[in-house]
Symmetry: C2
Subunit: 140 residues, 2 copies
């Protein structure tokens, strides 16, 4: 009754059914079975929301699995993971902000070609001796 099929959950969340099946097979969002078919409780809708939120936060599916496993069992570990990711998010925000500011300057400074703008050049040059950041993102 209150059980949803993949298709219904897909419709309610906007997540493709194929993705939900994938999440089931990798163990991120397990489903029960009724005569071979996946069934999800109503509460799965909220779970999907949380998954999307954490995905936006930059948690990979593997990380989310680790998080989900640690959540009820080991609150200390959960907090540790959360804090680590929070730091990553701070880096990410700072970098995005820097890039945004660089674009902002390029749009405002009036130079017809950005590469003629000394400020832009300075920011770009700083990037060469700066933090890689992509490695933090590429890292698994």
């Amino acid at each position: 009754m209150t059980e949803l099929t993949v298709g219904e959950l897909a419709r309610r969340t906007g997540v493709a059914a194929s993705a939900l099946r994938y999440w089931d097979t990798v163990g991120l969002l397990p489903a029960t079975r009724v005569s071979g078919q996946r069934r999800y409780p109503e509460s799965a809708v909220a779970l999907v929301g949380a998954i999307l939120l954490l995905r936006d936060a930059g948690f990979s599916l593997e990380e989310q699995k680790a998080l989900a496993a640690a959540r009820p069992a080991d609150p200390g570990e959960w907090r540790r993971l959360a804090r680590r990711k929070q730091a990553e998010l701070d880096d990410q925000i700072a970098t995005a902000q820097a890039a945004r500011d660089a674009l902002d300057h390029a749009l405002r400074c009036g130079h017809p070609d950005v590469h003629d703008c000394p400020t832009f050049r300075a920011i770009a040059a700083a990037r060469l001796s700066g933090k890689p950041l992509r490695e933090a993102h590429t890292h698994h």
Copy 2:
């Protein structure tokens, strides 16, 4: 003299030579040839800095090619692209900030299990009716 080989440019910028060759083959950072070998002007160092910066900004290599093509030829188009990406960055920052705040709340609110926290549930629920954002990122 002032011409650099891939290896030298790699050393000066910290970017792998294989990556620089790749950037050449896809047309992002073209090199001239001297008896078959790639040669880059000194100014390429600054270009690499700009490429890294824009990459951080979320420009894909394809987007950067479009950007580079529009830069000297069509400043209006350049500004259009820059503004569009700026808007994307704003979205990205807002989302990252929301995720960060959600984690922050989860860490502070004292609920042993985040899913018991009504605030967290509300944020996650909001994500379901929010902007996909991933589509903007998946789009080319």
